[in-house]
Symmetry: C2
Subunit: 305 residues, 2 copies
């Protein structure tokens, strides 16, 4: 396909404050998390996943998401979705003033059992009920599918199953379904084939790509999905999400790597790369680690003001 | 373009023992370099850049390339090209029994002056004479162009200039021209556009892609070039070539990342990924550093035999 067929604009959903921080080995306090969200909005991000209403015992890094959402100064034109696994989570999200939530399901039966302690069928029924309540309350609902290429327990995942579940999430009222390559094992050819299969059942404009960089394929996979018509991508500033002490662990594709690639194609994102890189360096320092992204390491230093 | 239009086979030119080691901050002895080349051949590499006949004062890591080539046990079907900058280098290469050499020129005038102390025009005349002598001696000649996307001194580089110089290298008898994004700043859209421009003057089957991962675009750029018809790529095992103490420095795209991506597309390379990853880990340990590639970090450990 020719470069002319690329879209003029891509929407990036920043997941660093949630999917990223959740999987770091250092837990940050609410003040730091609020500052991170604020800096990301300053850099031009307009969709910033802010927290998760999950058990603080199971996911300690997301503790206090209610307080965070209550304290977060909302900006016009910026959405702050939060992850919600069930009715209890939705109650807490609504109480904290959330107007955007994200639901998630795994495409693999074993992963679903281990991660959410129920079968895929049970999980979808539960999500459907949560979605209905959220929509009735005027809340926008986004859907996530995890393990869309492979599952750590079951191996390869059938794309047809991904397509069926994506269609169900749309049917239950999700405005968009984010396809998550949770283990980062997907390669561009596989991502392109997956998008084609899913797009046969769900309009490609309702799909987002959510790729992890564990096997170094993050940017290439975004490029492949972009060529198949996907125009929404999840990414985390600084490549947050890979605890540096866990060998091979790696976070989402870094927002700054993605913006750099899209800038190079003349594709508009509305994001200021320098401000984003500064934020990647700041949050990485707060986590006492080097930024996981090449762009944050290669970008020239910002002069002191 | 559909995945069906991808080539069935890609040839990978391993440049770790030369372009990689040359730019590491630890210099290895000839024994280690010979072992590296041997392990790469064991892993299935059939083009292994083995050394450089350059001034050991300017490029100390390549010292002893003559001895290395004399001691290297040649395998049938494997080529071991060496970098040769001038007549003196060619003399030494011929004396050491080289049957494959590589010549290089920069597309940017300033880079040419600083790197080879002559203008582009002078450089091309000199290379032309070296190529003629080499061909007369029955030696195969490969061409490199550096700074094909951008130059650290001059900024953006015109693709038409790259095309003209690539055509000249082919005219002087190079069987192939490797297009080097020396600073790694290129993005997939730029690489695709470059290939199209150069392929208007040189058959795409005579082009190779040589991408550095400094800005995290290595794999994505290979993918983009592959879609434009390029089927030969340079890569370095372990992502060798980025001294870890130089901020932002980064080597070639890692051979194992590339093989992983191509395996995922069902594209044959003839390379055993596990053996390659083991080699990446071994050479990184010899350099007292972690492998720069994600695949070498994510790949499951090889059980002790």
């Amino acid at each position: 396909m020719s470069a002319g067929a690329l879209p003029p604009r891509v929407r990036i959903v920043e997941v660093g404050p949630r999917d990223g921080l959740q999987n770091e080995c250092v837990a940050l306090g609410i003040d730091d998390r609020l500052t991170l969200i604020d800096r990301l909005a300053d850099a031009g991000l307009r969709d910033i996943e802010a927290g998760a209403f999950v058990s603080p015992k199971r996911v300690p890094n997301m503790a206090g998401s209610g307080e965070l959402m209550q304290r977060l100064p909302r900006r016009a034109g910026v959405s702050y979705p939060c992850l919600v696994p069930n009715d209890t989570g939705l109650d807490a999200a609504l109480a904290a003033g959330c107007t955007d939530i994200a639901l998630f399901a795994a495409v693999s039966e074993t992963f679903s059992q281990r991660n959410t302690a129920c079968s895929i069928a049970e999980s979808m029924d539960r999500l459907s009920a949560v979605a209905r309540r959220a929509l009735d309350a005027g809340v926008r609902v986004r859907g996530y599918l995890s393990c869309v290429i492979g599952c750590p327990y079951e191996g390869a995942v059938e794309s047809r199953k991904v397509a069926d579940m994506a269609a169900r999430l749309i049917d239950m009222g999700c405005y968009e379904v984010s396809l998550g390559d949770t283990t980062g094992i997907g390669t561009p050819a596989q991502i392109a084939a997956l998008i084609d299969t899913v797009a046969a059942q769900v309009a490609v404009t309702r799909l987002a790509g959510h790729f992890h960089d564990t096997w170094g394929m993050g940017a290439a996979n975004v490029w492949a999905a972009l060529q198949r018509g996907v125009t929404v991508f999840d990414a985390s500033v600084g490549g947050l999400g890979g605890c540096p002490f866990a060998p091979g662990a790696s976070g989402n594709v870094a927002t700054e790597d993605l913006v750099y690639m899209l800038d190079g194609a003349g594709i508009e994102t509305g994001i200021d790369l320098r401000a984003l890189v500064d934020t990647a360096r700041w949050i990485s320092a707060r986590l006492d680690r080097a930024p996981a992204s090449r762009v944050a390491r290669a970008f020239p230093p910002t002069p002191e003001r």
